[in-house]
Symmetry: C2
Subunit: 290 residues, 2 copies
């Protein structure tokens, strides 16, 4: 079952059809660039897609709001699904194929196989979202198996997700090059997110504290501060000063292991998760020291 | 790094090289048949290979004694590794490529990704071999990703392994047809196993009790017995009569869920694991009722 939009991307609904499409592209000697998304596409996704189009002969975007990575009290049902607008963005960007399966197509009723990336999920978002990264790791393994891309593009905003995907791709020999892409921000610094649309005008303004705090971290490190505990206190204080900001975590971790560090040294990730009302936002910055 | 034996299969040591070989075969429009093994090949493997050769344009056999599926007190180090004899068997059977990676090539030092098939491991061999099926599921996922076969061939002797692989292949969308193959037996009924060579002459003779017991089960069901508890008692009694036989388990389970059943009905698996000295043997039979 596939629809063809005139001049636009082919829309594919089943794994079998997607796999056939990908095998044909491979047999034609084409490289495949793949951008897995949950839809509600914004300029951040746009940057991933643009890069995929530039670097590959064929480009697939998946649009799938993955139920297994949402907790029972999270926003699975209200997660935005503006499918027609997403298709238009893909068409304008030169995407060849959109893979948009239904949950029942993606998961058999008695599906029971999980991909677990040990250790890396026991930090940051993994603590407040139990099972989230198991769901992410599993669906990404499935998508990479179905699409068999040459390269897959992921944003650095989801830093922990990116790290987990890098490791599972290596460990399971998925044969895909994972391409990390820079965070795309609004003009005022807010990181692009499909969840930004949940924010009220007040929350939207206060949410700028995330980027401001990360820039502050970068400056403090540039000016020689190396004490992670001290910096953590300063970052938390800055965020708490914003009205309605409820900290989920403020963390300074090794960018490879995601483990807490005491001293700023090597490749370091400062990561934040903060709730404004019912909306949880994340952001991060990476610094290299020494 | 690859060796070419004149007229024999190409021998490949790295995932990258194996993947390139497979992609070339795919691009040439060839179907790939795959027989994953731990080496020490016997007529059971021979039957899998023969079928793969008959049904596919190209055939890959992997030989890899997978450390992650052995427990700390199991026979990983003493597991037989008669590589030259294995190569000869493959060459004679018309295998195109042998994939024989070293453990360090297969697992990065900090490898931490596991494929877990929920539920199916909590029965039969999973109980006495904790972690075994996690190791099997993970290495099979890796091998199927590297080799990207059209079809993969597994023996029914490892009934639980086969069931787990069928489910993970479906759940992770690996796009491979899993082909179950009949158990191959010695003339006197002993199921072929690489571990049979551990048996002393006395143990070898007593080990016939496994097949005898399974045939007895089949006859009892054919003559109308439907009480699984009663049959379990009878099977255990038969095995205990053999000298030196130490039962690990005697089980009568649903062939799909591997859960214990009370009544013989539908597709039923009778499975045995019995130790003779330090050698643990398994065997099973499947009956269809109603």
């Amino acid at each position: 079952m596939s629809d063809s939009y005139s001049g636009g991307p082919q829309i594919v609904k089943t794994a079998a059809e997607m796999n056939t499409w990908a095998l044909e592209a491979l047999r034609a000697g084409k490289s495949i660039g793949f951008v897995p998304t949950m839809g509600a596409l914004h300029a951040g996704h746009g940057a991933l897609i643009e890069r995929a189009v530039n670097e590959n002969a064929a480009v697939v975007v998946s649009i799938f709001v993955n139920p297994t990575q949402f907790g029972p009290n999270e926003d699975f049902t209200r997660y935005p699904r503006p499918f027609e607008a997403d298709v238009k963005l893909c068409a304008d960007a030169g995407v060849d194929c959109i893979y948009a399966p239904e949950p029942a197509e993606m998961y058999a009723k008695d599906a029971r196989t999980w991909v677990e990336v040990g250790g890396l999920a026991d930090h940051l978002c993994g603590l407040s979202r139990p099972g989230h990264f198991r769901g992410v790791a599993t669906v990404v393994t499935k998508l990479l198996s179905i699409v068999r891309p040459t390269r897959a593009y992921f944003g650095k905003k989801d830093a922990q997700q990116l790290r987990i995907i890098e490791v599972l791709t290596r460990d399971l020999n998925l044969g895909v090059e994972i391409v990390p892409c820079e965070i795309v921000r609004e003009a005022d610094g807010l990181a692009m997110s499909s969840r930004n649309r949940y924010l009220s005008a007040d929350e939207r303004r206060e949410a700028l504290v995330l980027h401001r705090t990360l820039k502050y971290f970068e400056e403090r490190v540039a000016s020689g501060e190396r004490d992670a505990m001290k910096l953590l206190g300063e970052l938390a204080e800055k965020i708490e000063a914003a009205q309605g900001a409820e900290i989920d975590y403020v963390a300074i971790v090794d960018a490879i292991t995601l483990e807490d560090i005491a001293e700023i040294k090597g490749e370091v990730l400062a990561a934040l998760a903060v709730k404004f009302g019912t909306t949880r936002l994340i952001d991060n910055i990476r610094v290299m020291v020494g």
